[in-house]
């Protein structure tokens, strides 16, 4: 068997193991007195998580050997690595606090991240000259570890919010909490709908006029893998007999792939809404309200502490990886350590945001609920930089 095939199998194995571990962590709800006490289900859960993590490390190493460079050089590889480090960060925090329910919230997010990553092209690609330096690996991996640790504070913040927010009525707080949960559904929606049409081999190609960087008109093609709810402005359909776009995007949406990306986004939102709606029908209450009773043994102060601790541990790692190592790399590759490229700026924003978080906590005593909301926003910024900046605002970084 080829090494790259073994590598893929190891990743699948890790995925399945994380799934099983999630079930065991869910079982700890029933079993225990106090959320942090040792429990059998929790022990099995963490053991399976660790085996899954080792399997994913195996994926990483075999892929590294197969591609001859550290597999963090495209969106699939980087996002998968981020998922792996997220699990790693969970394992570390778990052994500090022995907090089983954290697994129930981190592992599904890790699963989503890995599933999301798999929707991107997965072939092994060569490195262009600017990426050929050890500092690239050092920068990218350290930044991902930092972000992963910070992301654990999101998981803890979410637990805090679900545990403590009064669910007796629909108001601003309960709405936004549901919104956070819904974004997870939208991600599932994206993965499911992409896989479904990919399995069916769906393809629909359009040709249209776009403007390039110099303001010149150029003819471009866009390959849809989802049925076109939104087609490019003034398009010509090249695939015969395929569905015509329901709506054409307005002319100001000029980017070459803008219409296709909008189409994918809308499909994800709609599929997510359908799944979420179905859940509401079954549960007959808000998702957070349904989860809340399961968390009533959780001590909010402990969760708050876990969330803060994750930021305290992650902040220095993030600074080192996403700013300092990034500057060293940029200095080597482009002889300027900082260039105000969107990806860099968003790393700076993330960093300022967590600095802000720490100072608010210090001086204004933003503990508990406010701190939990901030942890959620911080994660949103990280995800924005990880995904949206690559997909929307293309920069120098190669993952575009």
């Amino acid at each position: 068997m080829e090494l790259s095939t073994i590598s893929s199998y190891l990743l699948y194995t890790a995925f399945v193991l994380y799934l099983i571990a999630t079930v065991f962590f869910a079982a700890t709800i029933k079993e225990q007195e106090k959320a942090t006490k040792q429990s059998k289900a929790g022990n099995i859960g963490i053991a399976i998580t660790i085996i899954g993590f080792i399997s994913q490390v195996g994926y990483f190493i075999t892929r590294w050997i197969a591609s001859q460079h550290a597999p963090v050089s495209n969106l699939f590889e980087f996002t998968t690595f981020f998922g792996m480090m997220f699990v790693f960060a969970f394992i570390v925090i778990y052994f500090i606090y022995r907090f089983n329910l954290l697994g129930l919230f981190t592992l599904p997010v890790a699963l989503l991240i890995i599933a999301y990553a798999s929707m991107f092209p997965r072939e092994i690609s060569p490195l262009i000259p600017a990426l050929k330096t050890h500092w690239l690996y050092i920068h990218v991996t350290t930044a991902a570890i930092g972000e992963a640790i910070l992301a654990v504070s999101f998981a803890a913040g979410l637990i805090y919010l679900i545990r403590t927010i009064d669910q007796s009525s629909l108001n601003k707080k309960t709405f936004w909490l549901e919104f956070i949960i819904y974004t997870l559904y939208a991600t599932i929606g994206f993965v499911l709908i992409t896989m479904a049409f990919r399995a069916g081999g769906y393809e629909n190609v359009f040709e249209f006029q776009a403007t390039d960087n110099n303001g010149k008109e150029i003819t471009v093609q866009s390959e849809y893998t989802l049925p076109p709810l939104f087609g490019p402005h003034d398009n010509k359909q090249l695939t015969e007999g395929a569905m015509k776009p329901l709506v054409e995007v307005p002319s100001w949406l000029k980017g070459e792939q803008a219409a296709r990306k909008l189409n994918t986004l809308v499909w994800s939102i709609v599929t997510g809404l359908a799944l979420y709606g179905l859940t509401l029908l079954i549960l007959r209450k808000r998702v957070a309200a349904w989860i809340q009773p399961a968390l009533h043994r959780v001590n909010p102060d402990l969760v708050d502490e876990v969330s803060y601790r994750a930021v305290a541990i992650g902040f220095p790692v993030f600074t080192l990886g996403a700013l300092i190592f990034a500057m060293i790399w940029a200095q080597q590759a482009w002889n300027r350590f900082w260039g105000w490229d969107p990806k860099e700026v968003w790393a700076l924003i993330t960093w300022l945001f967590y600095a802000w978080f720490l100072h608010l906590r210090l001086s204004n005593g933003w503990h508990g609920e406010r701190s939990a909301w901030l942890a959620v926003i911080g994660f949103a910024i990280i995800m924005f930089n990880l995904i949206a900046v690559n997909l929307i605002i293309a920069g120098l970084h190669s993952y575009a």
């Binding site: 001859q68 060569p126 262009i128 402990l302």
Partner: protein
């Protein structure tokens, strides 16, 4: 200054909230840290006297107080964060590769929104005066807030004594009482404190156990690092500290390296580009997706020379070879603080073209003479044998037709076209005109008797280098390094204190930490293990 004498005898500076020595709240100052209506004491900076909380009269006081406030700092950070994000909506001018000028680019590409963006100056947001002002304010704030706190905190931690006032202990977040404690239990307590690596001070049976005090200095260390970094960034505006120049060198040529004041020269021996092998099994799929060519390496083989004579203007320099090596992306060649980076290139620029003159109708095209035109520095006139003369009338290095007129797009010979006047012995004053270029050879009058034919073309590559010298890098590096030490010091360690006060038959126990209360409580559990001392309460924890 109005010193405050505490009942324990310690003399505190004006503005003290909690006595530096025994921790007793200073009655008239409780409003400063908001202790009045709270059960628990605010332990930030240990209730020491801070200038910003004490004086607010003069103009200096007001400035000082403004910049030392964390609220202001928090606002500055938030505004900077929001401002920074604005700059990513559309590309910044400096990162924009478009050939359009900025005043057209934004409107053409992004319509009205783009126009507004440009007019607000957001196309150069990070170089704008107000963005710099924000960063500068953060810098000032960092300096002032740090000085405002670090000195008093240092005093308070140095002066503290094991004997503490009752109310100080009672109003700690972690506090517990034990009714009956035996001497053995006290021994165990002491032993286990030391086992948990607490430094224990004793005074009349009162204990102060402390560890990780150095972590309190973490924030100040990291702020110093940030300040050094900002100073480094500021120094880049000093010309001598920072050189950033572009240089094109053609293969075979030697150029003076700009920024070195004529001291160093570089010769481009060879420039080349390598591509990945399309048939490489490993990357086949990805390369096909990229359209069949993915670059693998850009390289200049260079020789560096140093000038050995006194550099007189106009004089031929005497050069001595000092270094030889390759320049690749990510691998600059360095000399004397300067670094030469591979940044761009031009392949196959024309170096020279050779022509031969022959009679138009001659089937053998027998040569009447050959000329070679150097396309970088062409001669005006070329004399041949037997009275023939060729004059270069017009030269277009990068030829293009625009509105029916020949023009050149640049001064670089990328697509040369030449117009010659040919003088012959028969017509010494009335030349024939001939126009030649890549792929064409035109006789505009259509009555020429002679023809110039291209016999040879020499091409070469040109490498584009960036020369930098950045004396601020070490400063930035030191700043970053100190920052990292500071954050790690402040984040991965914490300052924990446990006070034990003997009471009639039992004792009081109180604890404080600047962060990680979970860790402190676990420490206390282990310290009182094996005794009958009940676990102290967390007075902040909600009871359910």
């Amino acid at each position: 200054m109005n010193k405050i004498k505490c009942e324990c005898g310690h003399i505190n500076p004006e503005g003290t909230v909690l006595c530096e020595s025994c921790g007793k709240p200073v009655e008239q100052n409780q409003h400063i840290d908001g202790n009045k209506h709270n059960k628990l004491l605010n332990m930030r900076y240990d209730g020491s006297a801070r200038r910003s909380q004490t004086y607010n009269k003069s103009f200096v006081d007001k400035i000082w107080n403004f910049f030392s406030s964390v609220k202001v700092g928090v606002w500055l950070i938030a505004i900077t964060l929001l401002a920074s994000s604005l700059g990513t909506i559309f590309p910044q001018e400096m990162n924009n590769q478009s050939s359009l000028p900025a005043d057209e680019y934004y409107e053409v590409n992004y319509g009205l929104a783009g126009k507004i963006y440009y007019q607000l100056g957001f196309h150069d947001l990070y170089g704008s005066w107000w963005y710099m002002l924000l960063i500068a304010s953060i810098g000032i704030s960092l300096v002032i807030c740090s000085i405002d706190r670090v000195v008093p905190l240092y005093r308070a931690l140095k002066k503290q004594k094991p004997v503490r006032h009752e109310s100080f202990l009672k109003r700690q977040r972690v506090f517990g009482e034990a009714e009956h404690v035996t001497d053995e239990e006290k021994e165990t307590l002491l032993k286990q404190l030391k086992e948990r690596r607490f430094k224990v001070m004793e005074q009349d049976g009162h204990l102060l156990a402390e560890k990780g005090r150095f972590s309190r200095w973490g924030p100040y260390v990291n702020h110093i690092g940030l300040i050094i970094f900002l100073i480094g960034a500021l120094l880049r505006f000093v010309p001598a500290m920072y050189v950033d120049e572009q240089l094109w060198v053609r293969e075979g040529e030697t150029e003076v390296i700009p920024g070195t004041e004529g001291e160093y020269y570089i010769k481009n021996e060879d420039f080349f580009v390598e591509m990945y092998d399309e048939n490489d099994e490993r990357y086949k799929e990805a390369i096909q997706k990229e359209g069949g060519s993915v670059p693998k390496n850009y390289q200049t083989n260079a020789v560096l020379y140093q000038r050995t004579d006194d550099s007189l203007p106009g004089a031929q320099p005497e050069l001595e070879k000092v270094k030889e090596g390759s320049i690749q992306v990510n691998r600059p060649l360095k000399i004397d603080g300067f670094a030469l980076y591979q940044t761009t290139y031009q392949l196959n620029e024309f170096k020279s073209m050779s022509f031969k003159l022959h009679e138009k109708d001659d089937p053998n095209e027998e040569s009447l003479g050959e000329i070679t035109v150097d396309l970088i520095d062409p001669k005006q006139e070329y004399k041949l044998d037997n009275g023939y003369r060729v004059v270069l009338d017009k030269y277009y290095p990068e030829f293009k037709m625009e509105n029916g007129e020949p023009i050149t797009e640049s001064k670089y010979p990328r697509n040369p076209a030449l117009v010659f006047n040919i003088y012959t012995p028969e017509n010494p004053n009335d030349p024939e005109v001939s126009m030649l270029g890549v792929g064409f050879n035109i006789d505009p009058s259509e009555s020429n008797d002679y023809k110039l034919g291209i016999t040879n073309v020499e091409m070469r590559d040109v490498t584009g280098l960036t020369i930098t010298k950045d004396l601020t890098l070490p400063i930035l590096g030191i700043g970053g390094f100190i920052f990292m030490i500071g954050v790690i010091q402040g984040m991965y360690w914490n300052h924990r204190r446990i006070w034990v006060q003997p009471r009639e038959n039992g004792l009081w126990i109180a604890g404080h930490t600047n962060k990680n209360w979970y860790g402190l409580k676990r420490d206390i559990q282990q310290v009182i293990a094996g005794t009958n001392i009940p676990e102290p309460n967390d007075q902040l924890e909600r009871k359910e």
